[in-house]
Symmetry: D2
Subunit: 134 residues, 4 copies
């Protein structure tokens, strides 16, 4: 399984009074990772919405917090595609300091109609792209 | 000039590694204050958008940080309308710990078309409501 | 099992360009729910940190997104304690529109030393309070 | 006056239900710009705190919203130092789409003791660095 890495710098905006990254902020890092993974494959969210009227939404997310990430650190988020379904994708994502895993998540996203939020089928072309790099 | 007060509790989500509220978070508190002021006058953002296709957007904001707000505190935001123009409103807003002012802002919002983002005229009915309590 | 309910109003700050609440924001609502549950039991985060040097951090979180929450809605978060361990608490939390569940989560938090982030034992007094209302 | 440019990609996390970037998020982009400007000069926030016990906090911020920034865009924040005082720095910062200015701000930050939040004098060495590139 191939994976895609994207750098994440920790700014004040992501920390809390505990002195480390606020637990909800990791979800933003993972979403940046998925967006850049998609862009890397040649797709843009805005183009998918404009051309096909679809957006990807998160349906299920399970995250484990192993070690705190700290202010000013340069980390990276590693994104791997685990499954491709009719309308859903399942990712494994990790925020890492070098090889050390700080948080690990399994994230299920679904392709939905941007108006009705009903699931839509992922096009064969897009699916093909996803499967080639899986 | 009458003013409208709304309680704000400080949760972890609003703090940063400096141990106090992150500077951008105060803008959220002020927006909650303006939204509740509007609701108090009988208007809802969603109704304004659905019926008239307008939304209010911030055009200019000047904020002074006087004292830090801290985790777990119960504060209140005080909102006063300073000016009502053809399409714009100017507010004075303060985040207070009792009578002590922690941050003070002057905020200009503009009524715009929700599609084009072009300024629209505030309706006479709405203006009347605003002026009565100014 | 008793549960604790706390109101959540959806402001612009929590929404995204999809027109609904951004998926990471629900974690903030759940944290507000846990903080208010703790306060309801007579404990304050700041007091626990000052007196005992402990803070609660999230170690594991599993969230299911069932229905989108929308701008301007008044919802409530329902918090129930599932388990009390030596240093950990497990909660079931739901964001609801009336009786309809929009998102549901199971959240494990751990009592840790605020300097070392190492797990600490939850005091018998506190545990007693938690168990009584479980 | 020299200026420092830093790229900003707009993700879902920064947008709101109006379909554009939420007004408080621009403050985060500006802070990223100032942090990277500081790093570019050879200083790190964490080092300043550990060695000298100082942090920079925002004391005054005036922002003008000229054009909305949109989801998925690649923009850049341009940071210029306007003034260096005994304990304060004044910056002009702009978020730009190419040469087009979307938001413009004047931001005053103050060097404070990280415990007392009282203003501290900026060291001659640091001041020298700041002045050379002003």
């Amino acid at each position: 399984m191939s994976s895609f890495s994207w750098p994440i710098r920790i700014y004040y905006e992501s920390t809390d009074a505990g002195g480390v990254v606020y637990h909800a902020e990791y979800l933003k890092f993972f979403e940046r990772g998925r967006s850049e993974w998609l862009r890397h494959l040649g797709f843009e969210h805005t183009q998918l919405k404009a051309e096909f009227g679809i957006i990807f939404v998160v349906r299920d997310l399970h995250i484990k917090y192993l070690q705190p990430a700290r202010f000013d650190e340069l980390l990276h988020v590693v994104t791997s595609l685990l499954e491709v379904g009719r309308s859903r994708l399942v990712f494994e994502q990790k925020l890492q300091r070098g090889d050390e895993v700080l948080t690990a998540a399994e994230v299920e996203v679904v392709s939905v109609d941007c108006e009705t939020f009903k699931p839509t089928t992922i096009s064969p072309t897009m699916k093909q792209h996803f499967l080639e790099i899986k």
